[in-house]
Amino acid sequence: MLPILHAIQAKLGYVPYAAVEPVAKVLNLSRAEVHGVISFYHLFRTEPAGDRTLYVCRAEACQSMGARELEAHAKERLGIDFHETTADGRISLEPIYCLGNCACSPAVMIDTEVHGRVDAARLDELLAES
């Protein structure tokens, strides 16, 4: 089921409620089972995402290099909390636990592009570019 859900999310940016029934049918499962899978995994969204998604790493290696401050800066600068999207629909903000970029912390990912050694100023630059 994961490959199907990934494909839906790749196409639509999220897995809408309306997709649950057809996926359940194809796989011969109950709607509850499909819903259970979607809700178990952090990376499946059930709400539309912004044009771009900013993932800020919250894990220990990034913490040791100021990720907590970076997280606060991102929230303040975008005026949103984690799991929210800016009012203009441009950027969604998500926490992530480890991008495997831990020797160049702190790290963020914008859509699928990872950036290392990101401080507040660098984050502002990246947001301005995207």
Binding site: F40, Y41, N101, C102
Partner: protein, 512 residues
């Protein structure tokens, strides 16, 4: 004279600090200057503190320049770096950089040297020699060599790989599977990603040998979704290997079929635990399974299944190629061979350090790491991921050895070392350990599901000085309950970092 070969790494970390822009700038400067170059996007050597690390091949030797920014390109051309010219960024011959020369690269022998998208390059650098040996052997002989090598699982639990394979070999079943755990969830780790991005055929070769050894015809790589580049490169490598007869029917003339597929995870830390991973591979919620039965006997879809970490599998080819004794001669005690240490967090010289077991933590942190990035004293090092203890500087003379670490309540796990300087608030780190456990709990058992939430609350009360003494006692009891009563190591080990804070950094909790 032919074109000069120039290497610009394309792994995630190199790109995250600007390697793509460097590659573009070199290409366009070369065109402008009329210099003929052959630009190769290799993987990273793992000297992440020097990325982007550009290399040029001069008289058959690779010379390094780093860290190179796009702004350095003009001056590099002015200094004639294509002929090895001197420049403030020049580092000399790559292999002679002490940080690299002081390592024992067995599993990572080819990483950063080859073009990860080229099967020919892999073979030209000794790739598929291990499989070449394996096809000449009986199944039990392959398993015997892996057992003899002393290789233990590098995913965390350090279980002997050969013994696991032997169980799968002996298990009854028409269909058997080889699964690779590439969920690499621990913060401070990137060795699996490096193999997949920088030497993907090595993992394919290791899994193929595992398939031959136990008679499995299908393999899956459970790869974390947070690694989009690794997913792309692995898929491409599988297609190339397939086209060349290294996967599929009659693999490498062995008479046996071995197919391989990547399955993308979806961001749940618990799915790195092997039974949860198998549930996830079956398309379900990643709920932990009760054991027994072992996955080796009833694993994926109920069939006998090998579950191994990327590094365990990627180490098998060199063992087959060079022999069990060659590998086992490295190391100390019951920890044989090499450990792929990942220096991460607040460290001046971070990256991948592969050394034989037995080197001390201090050597890693000081000689390789060069202390903290901030230049302040090291106060704590979290070893072995989010479930691993915070190691106090009084323990830095401990050797890298599974048993030696266990003696003081710590673990080597997947080899990640996350360094913190003296500005760290250890009470906050203890809180995070509980918070992480609460977020990632699969929910199957109460000590973990409820205990972790309670843990966060108790630590919050301690930090705001509410009934401190009583709450510290409560926290200790809660840790014990979780350790003793949890079904799997998430709930069972998340208390370890907390207990290490209680023991070694009590002042941060206001205790004595």
């Amino acid at each position: 004279m032919g074109a000069t070969r120039v290497f610009v790494p394309s792994d995630t970390t190199a790109r995250s600090v600007g390697a793509d822009a460097v590659a573009v700038a070199i290409q366009s400067a070369a065109e402008k200057n009329g210099s003929e170059i052959d630009l190769i996007r290799n993987g990273s050597r793992g000297l992440y503190w020097l990325e982007p690390l550009v290399e040029v091949e001069v008289d058959g030797r690779r010379l390094a320049y780093g860290p190179v920014g796009a702004g350095d390109i003009a001056s590099l051309f002015d200094a004639n770096f294509l002929a090895g010219g001197d420049h403030p960024r020049a580092l000399g011959a790559t292999e002679e950089i002490p940080w690299l020369a002081g390592q024992t690269r067995l599993t990572f022998a080819r990483v950063g040297i080859v073009d990860p998208r080229s099967l020919d390059d892999y073979i030209a650098h000794g790739g598929y020699e291990g499989l070449g040996e394996a096809v000449k052997l009986q199944r039990a002989e392959i398993v015997e060599i892996v057992t003899e090598s002393g290789l233990r699982g590098r995913g965390g639990a350090a279980f002997p790989t050969g013994i696991k394979w032997n169980t799968v070999l002996g298990a009854e079943g028409e269909q058997k599977y080889v699964t690779c755990n590439a969920d690499e969830g621990d913060s401070g780790t990137f060795a699996d990603r490096m193999i997949m991005e920088s030497d993907p055929f090595l993992l394919i070769e290791g899994m193929t040998i595992a398939g031959l050894a136990v008679g499995a015809t299908q393999g899956y790589i459970y790869l974390r979704a947070e690694y989009p580049l690794a997913i792309e490169i692995m898929n491409e490598a599988i297609a190339s290997a397939h086209a060349a007869g290294y996967l599929g029917e009659d693999v490498a003339g062995s008479g046996q079929t071995f197919e391989l597929e990547v399955r993308v995870a979806a961001g749940a830390y618990i799915c790195g635990e092997e039974t949860s991973m198998l549930e996830s591979l079956e398309g379900k919620r990643g709920m932990i399974r009760y054991r027994p039965p072992l996955p080796a006997i009833k694993g994926l879809f109920g069939a006998p299944t090998i579950v191994n970490n990327v590094i365990s599998l990627a180490t098998v080819p060199i063992i087959l190629a060079k022999g069990a004794g060659f590998y086992r001669d490295f190391g100390t005690g019951r920890s044989r061979g090499t450990l792929t240490v990942q220096l991460a967090g607040n460290v001046r010289q971070g990256g991948l350090v592969e050394v034989a077991f037995g080197r001390t933590l201090r050597e890693l942190l000081e000689d390789f790491g060069g202390g903290t990035a901030t230049g302040r004293p090291i106060r704590a090092v979290q070893a072995g991921g989010p479930l691993g203890a915070y190691v106090h500087p009084s323990k830095f003379d401990a050797p890298l050895d599974y048993e030696a670490f266990a003696e003081f309540g710590a673990m080597l796990g997947h080899g990640g070392l996350v360094v913190f300087d003296d500005t760290v608030d250890m009470a906050e780190q203890a809180r995070f350990a509980m918070e992480f456990c609460a977020i990632e709990s699969c929910g199957k058992c109460t000590p973990c599901r409820i205990g972790a939430v309670r843990g966060v609350e108790v630590i919050d009360r301690i930090r705001s000085d509410v009934d401190r003494g009583a709450n510290i006692e409560l926290l200790k009891e809660l840790c014990e309950t979780m350790v003793d009563g949890s079904l799997c190591a998430l709930g069972g080990m998340a208390p370890y970092p907390v207990m290490s804070v209680l023991e070694y950094y009590p002042e941060d909790l206001g205790a004595d």
